[in-house]
Subunit: 138 residues, 4 copies
DNA sequence: GTGGTCTAGACCACG
DNA sequence: GTGGTCTAGACCACT
């Protein structure tokens, strides 16, 4: 379910953060559902528990999840988070479009790429993901 | 002309690469024009020559510029480069749009942000930049 | 009557201790009144009996209550306890005031906040609390 | 200068955070002054560099300092931070005063403790601290 | 030299 | 069992 590229230049803990937020945003995780424990997830992915914890702690600080010592980590209410994450995404779109334009890409080219991206995203969303519910929802 | 944000988490050498490519893409630098020497640029910006060196080396490796020992560094022919840089920009647009969509942003919201970004980029491009030609063209 | 915030980072057993002490201090519990049994309280609050046990043990160690095997737990004489709990509270006040001052808060600001806090506490005290006597006095 | 109690229940990295903010608040550190490097401070205090880094990273996230990879960590502009830290301190004062009052402390007792605390803080502030400038300001 | 990431393994507090 | 803290030591990117 959660896939990590150990060779990526992007830190593992950031990949983890992204993937968890994405799952939450897609509504694939029920509100208040329990996340896999630090140790379990670490073992499943094959990384060090500390790395998972770093991701969890940062997500907690961002309000994406909350943690109860001795009990586990749980997703925060979706709606509280949704808007703020979406705003961030849209800002990144703005940024990349501006950049492309300044690099001389034509308006038509840019719009074409945007349309294509929208379509592939749509396909991804409709594809019933094979979620490993044992691990995620526990 | 070239502005470095020392506070940014983005490595200085990457900021340098971006800015030089952008200048090239905007057609603000004539083809085959000579770039400031490593030492000159480093001194002007107030950073370590090694850092400038690293940026130049990578740009050369990417074909953006070529170096003639003893004479200096020169921009490659624009057209050779243009497409490849633009491709990279467009891919980033794709990426961010896909991401936004997966985070639940509506198609309309995304397109709105794209349109806005295009407009602000247009404005930036038409604004006659105050280029410090001494530094760039030397 | 006793409210536990499971989301809080403060250990449940500490929350329990605080709330029991506060009830005692406010004079809402008669001297020598019997506390609910570990199991009862645990079931009512919906937490683990071990946790209640831990709170009771520590309160006993601090002299707040005493336990008679087979009969239950009872509050100690108020007056014995009052001073020591109050001393602790006052020390915390001292600590926080010192800290605020060292952080550059003006004397006037601090005193203003103290006055306000005193007033809101006064209001709370005069408000007739709806005590669930079944749970506390059993 | 920075003193850590290794036996305290309070995590080392939190003690570090507190002490650094306090130094900043007292104006004992010049704006934009460089903090000791992670490794240096760790060695001086006799703790693990990771622990120092945790403190630094959290302070960065709170806007107290900023970090430039390869160069070190620097204090943020004081004024940006001051108010927000002071607000937090004052809230803690409120909290403790309310608590003391609810525990039955008399208004007079509380005010007396506040006055005393203010005085000791004053004394601390006026005492010219022996700052190890080599380590802190570098 | 600097900070950033990661691992391995330990101990603690909580439930 | 859970998360929280800490250590020791490694490797990387940046200056």
């Amino acid at each position: 379910m959660i896939e990590i590229d150990l060779h990526s230049r992007k830190p593992i803990y950031e990949q983890l953060k992204e993937q968890i937020t994405k799952l939450l945003m897609l509504g694939l995780l029920e509100e208040s559902s329990r996340l896999p424990s630090v140790r379990t997830l670490a073992r499943d992915i094959g990384i060090n528990p500390n790395t998972v914890q770093k991701a969890y702690q940062q997500l907690e600080q961002e309000g994406i999840l909350y943690t109860v010592t001795g009990k586990g980590s749980f997703l925060s209410a979706e709606n509280v988070i949704r808007k703020q994450v979406q705003k961030k995404s849209l800002d990144e779109v703005s940024q990349s479009v501006k950049n492309a334009s300044l690099n001389g890409c034509s308006k038509d080219d840019i719009i074409e790429f945007v349309e294509n991206a929208l379509q592939s995203a749509e396909i991804l969303k409709n594809k019933p993901l094979k979620i490993d519910e044992k691990n995620i929802k526990e």
